[in-house]
């Protein structure tokens, strides 16, 4: 490819020269355009008497927020208001990730069921949800569905007890206190122990053709212990009605706005995850099943040891973008009045008249959230990818 050095290529025929010139031109264009915009921005802000600064964050926010996980009052600073918004967003997306994964995997696996009704139901669910706008679905969940609950006076009482009314839905919840955290830690410990035992049991069964009975007994023991902790030790407190009709103490209150955004996002994202799971399982060839079965693995084992690890390789990369979509779509809470970070930013924007600072803050929060999701999912992805010898 290289020309002999004695033949001097004129500069304007040299590829490398043009590459550099092209890059300089592109950079000059982009930065020129940016400079123009920023110049206009400075000019416009100067005319409005604004100066770029984040000092406003220390001022009192003086707006109230519908619901908050931490104590908040309008006299608190903007920083605290943003923190409330971030926590509210996190509350939606973290619970949303868990529920939408469950729903998506269920619906995806259901499309392989040998039950005709279940199969069709999974297809209908996916096709309805994917072909209607998310915002319409959220509005539908909020206005016609959740807001059609009776008012606080005539609340629905479901077994549990669960109270449902326009004021929100009240669920039984473990009593708060140091003991609660101890028992929660015990549950996590039991779950880890169970996982280790299952691993050992599988290894014993596959490698040494052991029966797996002793481990099974341990597993049953762990299950009983966990059930006891859950039911008895956690000290569940149901909501209790006070004298006034809308005065309810105890239990966990979920506002209708929170429920609408959560259910809407979970149902919407679940349909996309169902499609991903379906195509992931489909991508594993039938021969893998047959080979696993002919090696003597049971149906559940071949799913767990042979098919699922291969399907996960196809499933996890697109899951990443679905989780990111869920995080980004949580901003639509604005439309139904859920005070997430987007809605708090919006109110702050209207109060301070500082679009640049507020948008930079909000944008970087979403970028950070997406970055964290990507990092976690990439780590997960690396752990399931095919390891070349």
């Amino acid at each position: 490819m290289t020309s002999p050095s004695e033949i001097r290529v004129p500069l304007w025929r040299d590829d490398r020269f043009w590459k550099i010139v092209f890059q300089i031109v592109v950079a000059a264009l982009v930065f020129g355009l940016l400079a123009l915009f920023i110049g206009n921005l400075n000019e416009n802000m100067r005319r409005q008497g604004l100066q770029f600064s984040f000092n406003f964050l220390r001022n009192s926010a003086s707006f109230s927020i519908g619901e908050s996980l931490i104590p908040y009052s309008p006299s608190n600073t903007y920083i605290r208001a943003f923190l409330v918004g971030i926590l509210n967003t996190l509350r939606v997306i973290l619970v949303g990730f868990v529920l939408t994964t469950l729903l998506g995997v269920l619906a995806g696996v259901a499309s392989f069921s040998d039950n005709w009704l279940l199969r069709k139901l999974s297809v209908v669910y996916v096709e309805i949800v994917r072909n209607t706008p998310l915002l319409l679905q959220l509005i539908f969940w909020y206005f016609p569905v959740f807001l059609s609950l009776p008012d606080a006076r005539n609340r629905l009482v479901l077994p549990g007890p669960i109270f449902a009314s326009k004021n929100g839905i009240y669920l039984p919840w473990p009593a708060q206190g140091p003991l609660f955290w101890v028992w929660l830690a015990t549950l996590v410990g039991l779950a880890i122990a169970a996982w280790l035992v299952v691993q050992q049991r599988t290894r014993a069964m596959v490698e040494r053709a052991a029966s797996g009975r002793p481990q099974q007994r341990i597993l049953i023991g762990i299950g009983v212990a966990a059930l006891l902790v859950l039911v008895v030790a956690m000290n569940w407190q149901g909501p209790q009605a006070g004298e006034a009709a809308n005065q309810i103490t105890g239990g966990l209150r979920l506002s209708l706005e929170y429920l609408a955004i959560l259910v809407g996002l979970v149902v919407y994202t679940g349909a996309f995850i169902a499609e991903i799971v379906r195509s992931g399982i489909q991508s594993v060839s039938k021969g893998q099943w047959e080979a696993a079965r002919s090696l003597g693995l049971k149906s559940g084992q071949s799913m767990q040891l042979v098919v699922l690890p291969q399907a996960l390789r196809v499933i996890i990369p697109p899951l990443n973008s679905q989780y990111m979509n869920l995080a980004k779509n949580s901003s639509l809470g604005l439309a139904i009045g859920y005070p997430d970070i987007f809605s708090v930013s919006q109110t702050s924007l209207n109060q301070t008249g500082r679009p640049l600072e507020v948008f930079m803050l909000m944008g970087s929060i979403y970028l950070l959230a997406n970055l964290v999701i990507s990092l976690i999912m990439n780590t997960l992805n690396r752990s399931v990818q095919f390891k070349e010898r």
Partner: protein, 402 residues
């Protein structure tokens, strides 16, 4: 996925009796039997409730009373003829394209096509609108059918009709925009009157068309070997993809006037189109990049060894193949943009969802949320579902294979 050719249908055994079918598909184990009974019970209960509500409690009059509002919003009614001409133009082009794509098929009007046309015609006839509009709707369907037949017979004589047709689509974009907005001899219609489904379609089509050049440039930039170009493209794509569309729409409404010199203040529809375009370009770039990555290296090397330089290689060899591969993804992108245009209702534009919310907050129709949302939900569903089916068909037709 293996492609099955439509001519070799699998041999069918004798049809199973209904009882045997039920036993095999619904009641083949005790678990499945319980599942079927529970699911069937819930479904039947929900369906019965829905049907009773729809037939007794529902106040459907909100739909026929506001039908023009849903579709064209506040567009002046004495200018409706311009929209009808635009629709006629699009139907004719759609029919011609159908005919050209189906030029090698022996039966143009298969059973499926006839059913679709028939259903559309029945909807057109039964629409609760003045007779003139029903007549016009049915004529649109006829135009489509006639031009399809015409297109097929023409395509058999003129093999390069397809290229002219692409040109026709591009020209029609500008003609339709001119018909809608006016000017050049037509009385202008202000963008404030662009509402309803008309605005939804305009926003999605115009933003997709405008984002196309930017998206292709960004995709090429991200694949480029030049570090400055690659980094700038990557930063743009990742920044836009990391932020919610709603944030970009708000930025479009609030920040665009700040970035422009004093006095230049584009109206709200233009700002929304700008925001949607900048947003779509980043996603489109990723779709096109997928197509670019699917082109084997040999194609580039072959082009270079024929003496083509980089722009020519890209323009004549790589991009045409990459775009063809990317068509399904681009159509998917369009469908999701079509759904995402609902977000502009939050920034105060009255597209289909926005105008519906406006309708159910005006006196005679206050609180008719279920009826309205079910109706526009159905409208969105029909449009998106037919687009995805259509894209699958086009994909099959274009799949020439290598």
């Amino acid at each position: 996925m293996t492609a099955t050719s439509p001519t070799t249908a699998p041999l069918r055994g004798p049809q199973p009796t209904p009882i045997a079918w039920l036993q095999k598909n619904l009641f083949n184990s005790w678990f499945n039997s319980i599942l079927t009974l529970v699911l069937g019970g819930i479904l039947a209960w929900a369906l019965i409730n829905l049907v009773t509500w729809a037939l007794t409690d529902a106040r459907w009059e909100v739909i026929p009373a506001n039908l023009p509002l849903y579709f064209v919003g506040r567009y002046p009614s004495d200018q409706y003829w311009r929209l009808w001409i635009a629709l006629g133009l699009i139907s004719a082009l759609a029919g011609l394209s159908w005919g050209v794509l189906a030029r090698n098929v022996s039966f143009l009007f298969t059973r499926g096509a006839l059913i679709i046309l028939g259903v559309l015609a029945v909807i057109g006839v039964l629409m609760p609108t003045p007779p003139l509009y029903r007549f016009l709707t049915v004529s649109l369907i006829l135009i489509c059918a006639v031009t399809a037949w015409l297109g097929r017979s023409l395509a058999r004589q003129l093999p390069n009709l397809g290229q002219w047709l692409s040109l026709g689509w591009i020209a029609s974009f500008f003609v339709v925009l001119w018909l809608i907005s006016g000017g050049l001899g037509l009385p202008p219609v202000s963008t404030n009157a662009w509402t309803g489904l008309l605005l939804t379609l305009l926003l999605s089509v115009v933003s997709t068309v405008l984002s196309f050049p930017l998206g292709v440039i960004l995709a090429l930039g991200r694949q480029s070997s030049l570090p400055v170009v690659r980094w700038l493209s990557t930063i743009y794509i990742e920044l836009v993809r990391g932020v919610p569309l709603l944030a970009i729409l708000f930025m479009g409404q609030v920040m665009i006037p700040l970035f422009l010199p004093e006095g230049a203040r584009p109206d709200r529809v233009v700002r929304a189109i700008a925001a949607l375009t900048l947003f779509t370009a980043a996603y489109l770039a990723e779709n096109v990049r997928g197509g670019l990555q699917a082109i084997p290296r040999g194609q580039v090397e072959a082009a270079r060894s024929l003496g083509l330089n980089t722009p020519l290689t890209m323009g004549f060899i790589v991009l045409p193949q990459a775009l063809k591969i990317a068509i399904p993804a681009i159509v998917g992108q369009f469908i999701s943009l079509f759904q995402d245009t609902t977000l502009v209702s939050i920034v105060g534009l009255l597209e289909l969802l926005g105008i519906s919310r406006a309708i159910i907050s005006t006196p005679p129709f206050i609180g008719l949320t279920r009826e309205t949302y079910l109706f526009i939900g159905l409208l969105y569903w029909v449009l998106c579902y037919s687009m995805s089916i259509g894209s699958r068909k086009i994909e099959e037709k274009l799949h020439t294979g290598h």
